[in-house]
Amino acid sequence: AQEAVKIGLILPMTGPFASTGKQIDAAVKLFLAREGATHGGRKLEVILKDDAGNADATRRLAQELVVNDKVSVLAGFGLTPLAMATAQIATQAKVPEIVMAAATASITEASPYIVRTSFTLPQASEPMAHWAAKNGVKKVFTVVTDYGPGIDAETSFANTFKEAGGTVESVRIPLRNPDFAPFLQRVSEAKPDALFVFVPSGVGAQFMKQFIERGLDKAGVKLIGTGDVVDDDILEGMGDVALGAITTHHYSAAHDSPANKAFVEAFQKANPGMRPNFMAVGGYDGMKLIAKALDATKGDASGDKLIAAMKGASWESVRGPVKIDPDTRDIIQNIYVRKTQKLGSELHNVEFETIKDVKDPVKARK
Amino acid sequence: MPDASLPELLKIEKLSAGYGEAQVLFDIDLTLAEGHSLALLGRNGVGKTTLVNSIIGVTRRRGGRIVLAGRDLTAASPEQRAHAGIGWVPQERNIFKSLTVLENLTAVARPGPWDAARVFGMFPRLAERKTNLGNQLSGGEQQMLAIGRALMLNPKLLLLDEPTEGLAPIIVEELLKALKALFREEGLSAIVIEQHARKILELTDETIVLERGRVVLAERSATLIAEPERLEHHLGLAAAA
């Protein structure tokens, strides 16, 4: 047998973004268990490293993985700066960098060796704008966290929605912010038809609770946003406050397909108490992509060959059909419009509309 | 030497003590009868303060026994000793700096004839400064407060470590008078350390002199007043004068 193909998996396993790391780590393990560790005739060996969400740690770990451990693929990357910090290394060492979570649109432009299996924020926000415009929403107030992804979501939503004839007001929340009262109060005074929100998934629940507490739902304000606020991972704990939220995203654990049912079941069996979310799917499909590329190259793990094989690769993911855009190396996928509802006793994001084969709109426009 | 007719208040047997690794006191024996007071003399650094601190229990004991009014305090903690009836005026005064003058008194108070009003009667200056914080007092005022604070415990035995240091001559005079009255009329016992022996020999019943951590002279104070040369021998001319 040939030597194993090493994959350096760098994730935030500790710190405020630990849940991202855990979802992906669990998904990667699940992939190896379900689909086998041998692909293209070679065994996959995953080396997990924790960067705690610090960009220079990510960079150093990536460098060490390349130099010392001779990994053939770098994967993981929970946050945009972490993926960005590694781009140069990927280029220099000609090692593919599989981004499984970070969602700022520009990441794949930082290096020709970056491929993404998660999503981009514009990809999820623009369909929301279209849907809102079509469904009688005239005036939207956007509330986003003041950092890269938030600004991405805000701009792509606002631009699209204005083009569609709506009016938008915006406010940004600082990164460290325990209380949403002042922002929600502004929303409540502006009396919009809908509130578009993007906050990092951990604080989504807090936001939703205060949204309800302030009586905005009763005042007739629709809550819309990307799937991040109603992250499957914590949805159950949020309770009824999440009911009725309309979001657009590429994955819901309630996605109605046999493949997904089996995936969710297996995931929950391996990780009691956890529900797979979009991070997990990004991780799972990242592994899938690596496996497919190795199959295609018949086990040749040199960077350029792998990247070539990844471009244009397509498969049926648990989220629906996906394809790697050969031009941008971003993922092309369906975006679903979902409503948060009770399924039995559990809360779920139930998909009710599908927008097919969405490319990252930012790059598509260029 | 101790009066056999009076009951014993304090008995120290073969006490050795020090700080950390250093031993300062060696085999100290001492008995004090109820109602009697003791002058503790000696040159600088011979261990006077260490002896007083060992009685209250804030040094490191290396051997020996301490009994107060028949109760063995050898293993007792400082706070238990204080409750057993010892009042302490530390050499450095150690006023509680974030407590007011009044709180410094009430925080340690125990029931008995001494209360804040009586302390203020003894040191009118303190009454004027009742609400000052401990660190807003002049040096002498702190000294007065330290004495008053010890009295608030209503002790059977008062430990006074250089109580006249930093006080104006006129206050010293008054303080000594007041102490004399306490010793003679209220039967309070005390151990008094003093640099100037002559100030306190009249006040006390007995005297011991320390030298390098050992007792080198134990005598009735009255005898020493009569025979000053014996003190001179141990303390040098200046102090005994």
């Binding site: - | 007065m144 206050i171 040098g236």
Partner: protein, 250 residues
């Protein structure tokens, strides 16, 4: 005799307490002057104002004719006003040598020099050595100050003040806590200071005060009660009543 240090109407109050109350005071050149008074009379407060530790509520301080009321502490030292503290204020982790070297280096204006090596500075070395011998602390010069006996620390306190080569030296109870035998040594050291240094002494030990001072000011309740020669003060009935008491020297 000309005045080196003068205060005009100097007052300081803490809330309701007036610690010094319109004090007019003159220290003559080369004086051996003592400041006495009951506890809480305001002596320490007075010295603290002179040296800039406390800011006067009102009034003026002049050092050799110049107004120094608002000068920062270190500037007063540079102009020749040094002090000791009632409670030792030493550099615990330094050796006596380092402490004296520090004061000397500041006086020589070297303090802001970031690269010069101390031992290469011969002037500094010479003057430091001179102070160490004058105050007889050369035998303990490389032990940590914090570990030295109290009497020695007291001596270092005075040596450090003197190392600033002051024209006025303020001594706040320098002998407090120093044993009888060493007390005289200490005072002799002070008495032997050069004539052009004016000394103001605060002390409760009347033996020392009367032996040392040629002039005495008595402060009571923040005000100057009396001033004069030791002889005059010892017999002044008001002073006896307020401070000395009955048993005092006649």
């Amino acid at each position: 005799m000309s005045a080196v240090l003068q205060t005009f109407d100097l007052s300081k109050s803490f809330g309701g307490i007036t610690a010094t109350d319109h004090v007019d005071f003159t220290l003559a050149k080369g004086a051996r002057h003592a400041l006495i008074g009951p506890n809480g009379a305001g002596k320490t407060t007075f010295v603290n104002q002179l040296t800039g530790v406390l800011r006067p509520s009102s009034g003026r301080i002049e050092l050799m004719g110049e107004d120094i009321t608002r000068l920062p502490r270190e500037a007063r030292v540079k102009r020749g006003l040094a002090r000791t503290f009632q409670i030792n204020q030493l550099f615990g982790t330094m050796t006596p040598l380092e402490m004296i070297a520090l004061v000397t280096s500041e006086r020589l204006g070297r303090g802001s020099h970031p690269f010069r090596a101390l031992d290469r500075d011969l002037e500094l070395v010479g003057q430091t050595a001179e102070i160490l011998t004058r105050f007889r602390i050369d035998d303990i010069m490389d032990r940590r100050i914090a570990t030295l006996p109290y009497g020695k620390q007291r001596q270092i306190e005075i040596a450090a003040a003197f190392a600033a080569r002051p024209s006025v030296l303020l001594l706040d109870e320098p002998a407090a806590g120093v044993p009888e035998a060493e007390r005289r040594d200490l005072m002799q050291t002070v008495a032997a200071l050069p004539d052009d240094v004016s000394v103001l002494l605060i002390e409760h030990d009347m033996d020392l005060v009367f032996r040392f001072a040629t002039r005495i000011t008595v402060l009571v309740n923040g005000r100057v009660l009396a001033e004069g020669t030791p002889e005059e003060m010892a017999h002044d009935p008001a002073v006896r009543a307020a401070y000395l008491g009955e048993g005092a020297h006649a």
